[in-house]
């Protein structure tokens, strides 16, 4: 509706959606909450999901996603290139997730970390489409394997595997060079492969 209204404005005849997008960003820069929400709402699920794979806790992922959007709202004027809005937002999400991971590492002992994973596994009892049901055992294994990747590898792996980002986009989000991304991704896959080898072996026989 907003787009339709804006498209009717003078000068918005050629590329209505682009003009409305620019207009929305201009309004968001002036602190217009509605415009901000219209721009960013579509990124809610990808951001929650990205943070989930980084911190491995669904409830925390939602809280940190909120934090990401709050920071984006407060720093919207720091967005230089509007075409890179998505990578800019994921850059913020990455920082928020990283801070949370480091805080948790500092604050909690290993046994509590294990408890977290157990809680996370229990929490994962959500409705899953028939045929897509993943055994709790594999769920736990995946979660553990991801957590064992170091921060850079987990970041690159998550962005590539779960967010389907290109190397260029990953470079924009992380600030890493393309060779570093390729290397980290290769190593992350090798580690994951090793940790899930038994499961992959079973699958191979199927």
């Amino acid at each position: 509706m907003e787009v339709m209204r804006l498209a009717g404005q003078p000068g918005a005849y050629a590329d209505a959606s682009m003009n409305s997008h620019e207009d929305l960003i201009a309004r968001a820069r002036r602190g217009d909450e509605e415009a901000f929400r219209l721009i960013f709402e579509r990124y809610t699920r990808p951001v929650i999901s990205f943070i989930f794979y980084m911190v491995n806790r669904r409830d925390l992922a939602e809280e940190l996603a909120q934090e990401t959007f709050v920071r984006a709202y407060k720093n919207i004027n720091g967005l230089r290139d509007e075409a890179k809005l998505s990578t800019w937002l994921f850059g913020i999400a990455r920082n928020v997730a990283r801070e949370a991971v480091r805080d948790r590492q500092r604050a909690r002992a290993d046994h509590l970390e294990l408890e977290d994973r157990a809680v996370a596994a229990i929490r994962d009892e959500r409705p899953t489409p028939v045929g897509e049901l993943l055994s709790k055992e594999l769920n736990g294994l995946m979660s553990e394997a991801l957590l064992k990747l170091d921060e850079d590898k987990r970041l690159v792996f998550t962005l590539k595997v779960y967010q389907q980002r290109s190397y260029d986009e990953i470079a924009q989000i992380t600030g890493f060079s393309i060779p570093k991304i390729r290397n980290a991704l290769h190593r992350a896959r090798a580690e994951m492969r090793r940790r899930l080898s038994s499961y992959l072996g079973v699958k191979d026989e199927m």
């Binding site: 820069r29 002036r30 602190g31 909450e33 929400r37 709402e41 809610t44 699920r45 990808p46 929650i48 999901s49 989930f52 794979y53 669904r58 992922a61 939602e62 996603a65 909120q66 934090e67 959007f69 709050v70 709202y73 407060k74 720093n75 004027n77 720091g78 230089r80 959500r126 897509e132 993943l134 594999l138 769920n139 995946m142 979660s143 991801l146 590539k160 595997v161 779960y162 290109s166 190397y167 390729r182 991704l185 290769h186 896959r189 994951m192 492969r193 899930l196 499961y199 992959l200 699958k203 191979d204």
Partner: protein, 299 residues
């Protein structure tokens, strides 16, 4: 060997990151090489497995309500209970009537106070020393018709200007002819007088060689402020694009006002190098600029 090279590329091929030419070459090789084709199938199978570990990313119904509420709350907390404009006004008012406000700039304030105290101590000590010298000079020679104020200023300057005055005083003929018309002493007395003045001059030089003069302290303090301002300005320039236009304009206005004050106080301080009040006002102006820059960086 050839296959190893392709194996490296298979992963990049799988990620869709090869250019047209390379992609065609790898595709051709995959047709012929079972090992590389197997590696590609493995990657595909792994990917399917990873994707089965999916996240229920459906946000809670109140997700965006919470985001906007937090943004509003944290925005308010960040700017304090008073709007930015009021804070800026307070900052400017406190600037026009120099005083240090207890804010997050407490450290800068402490440094400024410490520097000012150091400078003032230096000035006082110098003034006392000069008073003694001048009174001794007056008592012993009755030669000085130079006003005390001039003597104090030239002494406390400790700089070439002061030296030049001393040199003139040290030159008997010039002193007698230009500055001390009352001197009627004979050549012997004059020689004693010149020797005494020379001794005072040497003493002053010795003091100035071992202890920084107040002017030097002021200049050092000024340099420290200038360096701090340069560092903060860099941060401010990075931060500037993130500020909305109105806020940026308010800060620009505040900075322009402070720059004018720095310029004015600096001119006065340069004109009266030994004047503690002038130095204090100038250093306060610098401290205030640091204050405002830090406000911008933290905003």
């Amino acid at each position: 060997m050839r296959c190893e090279k392709f194996l490296e590329l298979v992963e990049v091929y799988f990620d869709g990151e090869l250019d047209e030419l390379e992609r065609a070459r790898v595709a051709e090789h995959l047709e012929a090489c079972a090992t590389c084709a197997g590696a590609l199938r493995k990657l595909e199978r792994e990917q399917r497995l990873y994707l089965r570990y999916e996240c229920d990313a459906e946000p809670a119904p109140a997700f965006w309500q919470n985001v906007m509420a937090r943004a509003a709350r944290e925005g308010a907390a960040q700017t304090g209970s008073t709007p930015l404009r009021d804070r800026l006004r307070a900052l400017l008012e406190s600037f026009s009537a120099p005083r240090f406000s207890p804010s997050l700039t407490a450290l800068v304030v402490l440094i400024a106070v410490a520097i000012t105290a150091l400078v003032m101590t230096g000035v006082n000590r110098k003034e006392k020393a000069t008073d003694v010298n001048v009174s001794r000079l007056n008592n012993e020679s009755t030669a000085s018709s130079t006003p005390d104020a001039l003597a104090v200023r030239s002494a406390s300057t400790g700089a070439p200007e002061g030296e030049a005055v001393d040199e003139k005083e040290g030159d008997g003929a010039t002193v007698g002819g230009q500055q001390s018309p009352q001197v009627k002493d004979g050549p012997k007395d004059r020689a004693v007088l010149v020797a005494k003045r020379e001794e005072i001059r040497r003493r002053r030089e010795a003091v100035s060689n071992h202890e920084p003069t107040p002017d030097k302290l002021v200049r050092e303090a000024e340099q420290k402020y200038v360096a701090a301002i340069a560092i903060l300005s860099r941060d401010v320039n990075r931060r500037r694009p993130q500020l909305d236009q109105e806020t940026a304009a308010q800060f620009e206005k505040a900075l322009a006002a402070i720059d004018r004050t720095i310029e004015n106080t600096r001119r006065v301080a340069r004109k009266h190098p030994g004047d503690p009040i002038a130095a204090q006002y100038m250093l306060t102006a610098y401290a205030r600029k640091v204050d405002v820059l830090r406000e911008i960086v933290g905003y």
